[in-house]
């Protein structure tokens, strides 16, 4: 398995050729396209980001059964990781979900008014739930990790064990939206609008699944190790 993974000597451009979904990941590390023929290691160095963490994220996004050894978690800091997750949240809430919402509204324009309202309500409901989930992480979990990294003990008795590992309701709602669009919504739009929306929903779903995986399988164990050391 190991020899199949990305390594820092590979060309950054080959990463995208291998898995175009990483187009979403690069900007969250502050990497813009146009990096020429530089290697992964060189580009990471230029941007001052942890190459280990960058490779870890890219490998998780690309190889479905890849999970790192516990020892690899020490090659970057918890705050490197929360920076990346924070940027991901910003990307979802400022870029991706608003773009999908724009497409949903365009689709609603071709629906019967009644059906349009139903769809809009459902999407906004989903949007609220995702935002609430991210806000919780931003306002409770990440500050806790920051304090822990600074060596401060939490006085409010929070621990990462309380981290909400259950992303299932958000995932289920997204799945429902896909089914509604594929099977149940009558509309008068040209087919391509609905197809484009569905393709974007599939990409968002894949991306969010990997995001959850990183939180559950990388962030939580890493913070547990920090907590262990504080005791």
């Amino acid at each position: 398995m190991k020899h199949l993974l990305f390594s820092e000597r590979m060309k950054m451009a080959d990463l995208i050729h291998a898995n175009y979904r990483l187009l979403f990941v690069l900007p969250r590390f502050g990497i813009q396209l146009g990096f020429g023929d530089k290697s992964i290691g060189e580009v990471c160095l230029m941007h001052g980001i942890s190459t280990r963490l960058f490779l870890l994220v890219c490998n998780i996004y690309t190889f479905d059964d890849f999970l790192p050894d516990a020892s690899e978690l020490h090659s970057f800091t918890a705050e490197d990781l929360t920076d990346y997750l924070h940027n991901s949240h910003a990307d979802y809430t400022r870029e991706q979900i608003p773009e999908i919402r724009r497409q949903v509204l365009a689709l609603i324009g071709c629906c019967e008014a009644k059906n349009g309202r139903i769809l809009e309500r459902f999407f906004d409901d989903y949007n609220r739930e995702v935002t609430r989930h991210f806000n919780y992480e931003e306002t409770v979990v990440f500050p806790y990790i920051h304090n822990l990294s600074e060596g401060e003990k939490s006085d409010e008795g929070y621990s990462i064990g309380q981290f909400e590992k259950n992303h299932s309701n958000i995932e289920e709602k997204l799945g429902d939206l896909k089914n509604i669009l594929i099977k149940y919504l009558p509309d008068m739009c040209p087919g391509s609008a609905r197809n484009k929306l569905l393709l974007d929903l599939y990409l968002l779903e894949d991306d969010l699944n990997k995001h959850s995986l990183i939180e559950d399988r990388i962030l939580v164990p890493l913070v547990e190790q920090l907590e262990e050391r504080m005791r």
């Binding site: 009644k114 059906n115 309202r117 139903i118 769809l119 459902f122 409901d125 309701n169 289920e172 709602k173 799945g175 429902d176 939206l177 089914n179 509604i180 099977k183 149940y184 919504l185 009558p186």
Partner: protein, 207 residues
């Protein structure tokens, strides 16, 4: 394509001729372990008595073992053997009407390869039959399931739904599982959208 080992299939043979039974058995054994004859019977009634224990994938049968009138009602005879493919073993003239009821037929002059190929085709034909039968009956919601779905969409709990419809909570849960399996929709708000789009309820009922 044949790199993966094929599944082992159990067959029973209903054939009064000992020579043909022995010959077919040898032929299949020589061709490898894909098909194995796990029982040979001279008469169909003998097989039916043992059928629940054998549970074969294939029933190879000489259509001549049935009385002339019964030959066109082979499926009734093997009603208990829903999963098995029926294959006719043909060595005299059999009316095409009769052969149509089988998933396939092998002829006494077929060589080993041809027989194996025909048995595989018969199993595929049998599977296809099950799949297309399932499509009509199991994907659309039943009337009862639609009623339950409406109650879910209105925000009722399983207990409330059970009381309203005079069924057990267990039955409600089983209906809900089927609704989700059929529609692919898992959340209550998703089911509400389904009910609204299909005009099962009115917006005013969910506010």
């Amino acid at each position: 394509m044949n790199n993966t080992p094929r599944k082992h299939r159990k067959a029973v043979l209903i054939e009064p001729s000992a020579i043909i039974a022995a010959g077919l058995k040898t032929l299949l054994a020589e061709a490898g372990s894909e098909f194995e004859i796990c029982g040979t019977f001279e008469e169909p009634t003998h097989f039916v008595e043992r059928a629940p224990l054998l549970n074969p994938d294939l029933i190879l049968i000489d259509p001549a073992v049935f009385d002339f009138q019964k030959r066109t009602a082979v499926h009734n005879f093997f009603e208990g053997q829903q999963g098995a493919a029926l294959v006719a073993v043909v060595y005299s003239f059999i009316e095409p009407e009769v052969l149509k009821q089988y998933h396939g037929s092998i002829h006494i002059y077929d060589d080993g390869h041809k027989i194996i190929r025909k048995l595989r085709q018969a199993i595929d034909a049998r599977q296809h039959e099950t799949e297309s039968a399932g499509e009509n009956s199991s994907y659309e919601l039943t009337e009862r399931e639609s009623e339950i779905l409406v109650s879910v969409a209105k925000g009722m709990t399983n207990k409330e739904i059970a009381d309203t419809h005079h069924i057990s909570v267990h039955t409600v849960i089983s209906h809900r599982k089927n609704i989700t399996r059929k529609t692919g929709i898992k959340t209550v708000s998703g089911l509400t959208v389904y009910a609204l789009l299909n005009n099962l309820i009115d917006q005013s009922e969910v506010e």
